[in-house]
C-alpha cells in the first residue's frame, strides 16, 4: 500500500473549516497559512495565532527582505518554497530591540559579524537567535511561519483572514 502525504502550498491548498452546533465560529480563529501568505504583501508578518504575548506569524517571502532583529529567540518554518536565511551577529544589540519584544525592522545593518547562512526547503525549521540580525531571500514566492512574540512588525487582520460564519468545509 502506498500512501500519499498531502502538504499544502500557496498554489495548492484546500482549507477545512468550522461547523458550529452551539458556538461562534470566531472562537476558533480559523485561518490558513497559505491563504494568508498568498494574499499578503512580501515580508508582512501577519499574525495567525496569538496566545497572550506570543504569536505565530505567516509571511509571503519574495525577493530580498529587510533585516530584522529581536531580543529573544525566534524560530522560522518554511511551509512552501525555498528561502535563504542570512544571519549576522550584531556587535552591539540594536537599541530599538531592547525597548520591546518581537521582531524589529532595521533600517540598515549595524556593525556586525557574519554568523552563517541557511537554505530552507519545505518543512525545514531554523533558529533565529536572539540579538542577531537576519534577512531572507526567495527567488520565487514562498511561505514562512514564525514562532515569536508580538512586536512592532506584527500585523493583525483577523476579520480578513478568519472564518466568521458557521459553514461546512
Amino acid at each position: 500500500m502506498t500512501f500519499k502525504t498531502r502538504f499544502g502550498s500557496m498554489a495548492d491548498y484546500q482549507k477545512g473549516g468550522v461547523e458550529v452546533f452551539n458556538d461562534d465560529p470566531r472562537s476558533y480563529v480559523f485561518s490558513n497559512v497559505f491563504d494568508v501568505a498568498s494574499k499578503s504583501k512580501p515580508w508582512e508578518r501577519v499574525c495567525v495565532a496569538k496566545n497572550f504575548e506570543y504569536v505565530i506569524e505567516a509571511m509571503r517571502a519574495s525577493g530580498e527582505s529587510p533585516y530584522w532583529s529581536a531580543r529573544h529567540d525566534e524560530f522560522v518554518v518554511c511551509m512552501d518554497g525555498e528561502v535563504e536565511v542570512e544571519l549576522q551577529k550584531l556587535s552591539e544589540p540594536a537599541r530599538i530591540i531592547e525597548s520591546r519584544d518581537g521582531a524589529h525592522r532595521l533600517d540598515a545593518l549595524p556593525p556586525s559579524k557574519k554568523m552563517g547562512r541557511i537554505v530552507l526547503g519545505r518543512g525545514h525549521m531554523a533558529l533565529l537567535p536572539k540579538q542577531s540580525a537576519y534577512r531572507f531571500r526567495a527567488a520565487a514566492p514562498s511561505a514562512l511561519m514564525f514562532q515569536t512574540i508580538e512586536g512592532p512588525e506584527t500585523v493583525f487582520r483577523w476579520t480578513e483572514i478568519c472564518q466568521t460564519e458557521g459553514a461546512a468545509p
Binding site: 500519499k4 502525504t5 477545512g16 473549516g17 468550522v18 452551539n22 480559523f30 496566545n51 506570543y54
Partner: protein, 327 residues
Amino acid sequence: MTLQTAFESGAPDGDTGYRPFRAGGFAFRRDRYFAYINHGDVHHQMPVDAFLRALMRDVAWGFFYGTVNFDDVLGTTNFYGEVEMFLGAKNEAYTRAGRDVTERFAAADLMKSFKAILHDWTNEGFDPFAAPLETAAAFGAKRGSNGKAIERVRVSARRMVGLPGDTEVRTDAIGYPVNRMFEDVPQDQPVVEVEPGFESEVAAFNLFGYLSRSDVTWNPSVCSVLRDSLFCPTSEEYILPIDHGNDRVEWFVQLSDEIVWDVKDGATGRPRARVTMRAGDVAAMPADIRHRGYSTKRSMLLVWENGSPAIPDLIRSGKAPVTPVKF
C-alpha cells in the same frame, strides 16, 4: 478537598492474571476485554485498549494541561502538584443525578499508582502509543509485559531540536525509521553554513522529516522553546485516545493531511463544533472546551502551547478570556 493517601494493589486474578488496584475510593480491575472503575455504588467500564491508551497519555504527559477525559465519565484534572480523579464530574447526566464522584490526590502519588496499573495491564506486544494497525491487541488474559513501550520519555527540546547538546534529529541510525505512511516525505536536511564560533546558534533541521520518523501517535513533543511558547509537533493516526479538556487556549497548525476534531463543552460534554483541519489550517481550541481528533491517514500536527503556570488561575478568575482574540 482532602488529599487521598490510600493506594493498594491486590493479588493477580486466578483466571486472567491481572492485579486489581485501589487509589483512594476508586477501584480498578480488568478482564479480557474491559477495564472496570468503581467508586462506592458508581460503576463504570470501558474497553481496555481505550483505557490503556488514555492512561498512557495521562502518565506520559504528567496529567497534561487541564482535564484528561478517558471517555465521557472517567478522567483527571491537573492542579499542578495535585490532581483530581473523577467519575461523571464532567458529564451533565451524572452531575444532574448526583452520581458524580471526585477525589484529590498528590500528583506524584497518583502517578505511581497509574504507572503500576499500566505496567501490570499492558501485555507483551501491545503498544498504547502506537496506531491500532501497528500494534498487537490489548485484549485477553495476561501475557508478559511491554515496559519498553510504556516507559518512553517524552521528547522535550530545551531550545530547538538539532542544536548541539539538545534533542537529536531522528535518523535510522538512532532507531527512528520513516513511518510506513510517510515514506514519500523528503528527508533532505537544510543547507547550514556556520562561521567559526557560532556553531551553537546557527542551526536548522527538517521538521517534516523529523515528524515522519515519530514512533508514537498523539504524543506531542517539544521541538522549539521561546520562554513559555512551546511548539509541540506530533504525528496522528486513528483517534486521540482522550477528550482533552482545556484549561487554557491551545492552538493547532495542521502541517499535513487532515484531522477532524469533535469539540464539546468542557463542563457538560454537550457538542459545540466540528473542526476540519487540512494542511496549512490554523485553529484555536478555546479554554472551556474538550476536543477529540480523528486522522485516518497519519498526519502531522503542530500543537502550540503556552506553558505559563499562571494561566489557569487567570482564566478561572475571569482575568483572561477563554478565547484568544476578539474580532
